[in-house]
């Protein structure tokens, strides 16, 4: 299905915001200003955006430790996220969550999650809630190729099938879990989708570096699930451009791998080539988005740096609603 000019611009902007958000974080982290563990999503933008462009605020997603892309794609505010990563009390989670725990329930983003595999069962619950509400909404859980080996992920798939929950398991196979290759850790010859299929779901596969492949695939998946056919799974082949976390020396990569990936497997580059080649958008259109994006990220960083810091009293807040 042909996307409108607006939709294309929007998709590009979304991917670009994620990219620049993270490229900037990668720089800022070197300065030591940002605390904690940060896992960058850079390179996988087409998946988050290709999925979330189909969703509205009532659809729900759950993310992982590598959550910035999903959060931004689902509509979390850039400035509030940046402040959160900076640990400000004005951050999206008041500085309590940080990079690994960004959530915004109001936009249907039920949380990044530091525990690998924890999101999948939570998504089934969100999907069961959607089923109860009967509005054709879904819940989507993003999992890595590593997370697909965690027992919770398997249990969630079976429970979703048994309860016919409108849940979608999006597996982002970026070929690595930390420093381990998917060929080693996933016993069944790298194929995650077939394993999901054996749980009784319809599955799809796609090239996660091709926005249009993701977007088209997800249209089918969502049609299937929104129509009450129960859960589905999809595996996207994708690439991460940085280390597992910031600070990872990445000695597990092949020589020149990162350069090759940036050259051949960059979803944003491919998008640009594709839309300009097909004359759907011009380089000028896209350059404009680029500079707007850079300015927005710049403003977000400036705001984050200046934002209010939490105080020791804040530690005790928000444990309970009443106690």
């Amino acid at each position: 299905m042909q996307l409108s000019r607006d939709a294309l611009l929007r998709a590009y902007r979304q991917m670009k915001i994620i990219r620049e958000f993270e490229e900037r974080l990668h720089e800022e982290i070197q300065t030591g200003e940002i605390a904690g563990f940060t896992h960058l999503y850079c390179g996988q933008e087409a998946v988050a955006v290709g999925v979330c462009e189909h969703l509205d605020v009532e659809d729900k997603i759950i993310s992982t430790h590598r959550g910035h892309g999903h959060c931004l794609a689902k509509g979390c505010d850039v400035n509030d996220m940046m402040k959160e990563i900076w640990g400000s009390r004005d951050g999206l989670c008041k500085g309590k969550g940080g990079s690994m725990h960004i959530a915004d329930v109001d936009v249907g983003m039920l949380g990044a999650n530091g525990i690998v595999g924890a999101g999948a069962p939570i998504a089934v619950g969100a999907a069961l809630s959607q089923k109860l509400d009967g509005k054709g909404k879904v819940a989507i859980t993003f999992s890595g190729d590593g997370a697909c080996n965690q027992g919770t992920t398997f249990e969630a798939m079976n429970l979703a099938v048994v309860t016919n929950a409108p849940c979608i398991f999006v597996f982002e196979n970026n070929h690595y879990s930390e420093h381990t290759g998917v060929e080693y850790a996933v016993g069944t010859q790298q194929d995650i989708a077939s394993r999901a299929e054996a749980f009784g779901m319809k599955v799809w596969r796609g090239d996660g570096t091709d926005f249009f492949a993701v977007h088209d695939t997800m249209r089918e998946v969502l049609d299937h699930v929104r129509s009450g056919n129960g859960p589905a799974a999809v595996e996207f082949d994708t690439e991460r451009f940085f280390g597992h976390f910031e600070g990872d020396p990445q000695r597990y990569r092949a020589k020149g791998e990162l350069e090759r990936l940036r050259e051949e497997r960059d979803c944003i580059k491919r998008f640009r080539e594709s839309v300009t080649g097909a004359k759907l958008l011009t380089d000028e259109d896209l350059d404009k988005v680029d500079s707007e994006t850079l300015a927005a990220i710049d403003a977000a960083v400036t705001a984050a740096r200046a934002a209010a810091r939490p105080t020791s009293d804040d530690v005790l807040e928000d444990v309970y609603i009443s106690y």
Binding site: A118, P121, I122, V124, G125, A126, E155, Y320, I321, S322
Partner: protein, 337 residues
């Protein structure tokens, strides 16, 4: 007032709250029973009969029978709760928190805090706990110390049918996650229960089940009854015991405990879990720290030993705190010096 069993108080409260509030949803293994069998749904209910009839009344979307996948059950409860529902999830045995602790500890308990107070997770996780059935090491435990130690959870341990009613109603209506521990040896115990559909027992308010001036006994669940027996026996000798039923271990009613110890100067905490890092130590340390000047004798604990729970009748009997051991501990603090 109506007379009903502890287990009936569980199921009737869930039914009433489901009636009242569409967002209440039940899930767990065999909570319907008979799914996928010739007998069909509700051919037989869960093994504790604490969900009997719910499926018939509220249907498959609100009474969800699950595979044997506790992490998925609790995780699904988390997702339902984050989505505005009020799930009441059942773990058949409290011992099974071992296979799903992450969803309880690192997810449900922490969402609100990690997300900066911008979410609520009103999930109730019910579970049957405790010994007395010779169900051995993996089906008899009282893991409330693990759960009480987790910030973000509220932990309830009712000892009577009336308390089940008032506390479970509060649990379901509460906006925070609640662990609801039901003692399996109490399920068949009967008692008077208020009819008032708004009868609620707020959390953090202990119940003084016996009043006296000489010694404070603190307990909950099944053992509370043993403490009452001891108190009644000692009353005949003119010894007065305050027997405090905690009702909730988190929040803890520090005030009632400390007020009592200020008068009695003596405390015995009776708990069904092994001693190390347990609730008895928790309360005795509290008393030592905050009622130090009132204490006339060392705070005592009556708990099982630091061992798993054995199977044979003689062994389990020796393992669990008995009225005799409670009495001995009370006499010990009374006789001190």
């Amino acid at each position: 007032m109506a007379k009903m069993m502890y287990r009936e108080a569980v199921v009737s409260t869930i039914a009433e709250e489901m009636e009242r509030d569409d967002s209440v949803v039940v899930l767990g293994e065999d909570v319907v029973g008979g799914m996928g069998t010739a007998g069909g749904p509700e051919a037989i209910g869960g093994i504790w009969s604490t969900s009997t009839g719910l499926y018939g009344k509220f249907g498959a979307d609100r009474v969800i029978d699950t595979p044997i996948s506790e992490s998925a059950i609790v995780g699904a409860a988390a997702g339902l709760a984050l989505s505005g529902k009020r799930p009441v999830a059942e773990l058949m045995f409290a011992d099974f928190i071992g296979v799903c602790l992450d969803q309880i500890w690192n997810q449900i308990a922490k969402f609100r805090y990690m997300f900066g107070g911008k979410s609520r997770c009103p999930a109730v996780i019910r579970m049957a706990y405790g010994g007395g059935f010779n169900a051995a090491a993996q089906h008899s435990q009282s893991p409330h110390q693990i759960l009480t130690g987790i910030p973000g959870l509220k932990v309830v341990m009712p000892s009577t049918p009336a308390d089940v009613k008032g506390l479970l109603r509060q649990a379901i209506r509460d906006d925070d996650p609640v662990i609801f521990l039901e003692h399996k040896a109490l399920y068949a115990v009967s008692g008077e229960v208020p009819d008032d559909p708004e009868f609620i027992i707020p959390f953090g308010h202990a119940r003084l089940s016996r009043a006296g001036q000489d010694v404070t006994i603190v307990s909950s669940g099944l053992l509370l009854g043993f403490c009452e027996t001891v108190a009644d026996k000692l009353a005949e000798e003119g010894i007065g015991c305050d027997v405090i039923d905690l009702r909730t271990t988190s929040p803890l009613d520090e005030e009632v405990i400390l007020d009592s110890v200020e008068v009695t100067g003596r405390i015995v905490v009776v708990d069904e879990a092994p001693p190390r890092c347990g609730l008895a130590a928790d309360i005795n340390a509290l008393v030592a720290a905050k009622a130090f000047a009132s204490l006339k004798a060392p705070p005592q604990a009556v708990t099982p030993p630091h061992t798993p729970i054995p199977f044979a009748r003689e062994l389990e009997n020796a393992y669990l705190p008995s009225a005799e051991r409670i009495e001995a501990a009370v006499r010990k603090v009374l006789d001190w010096r």
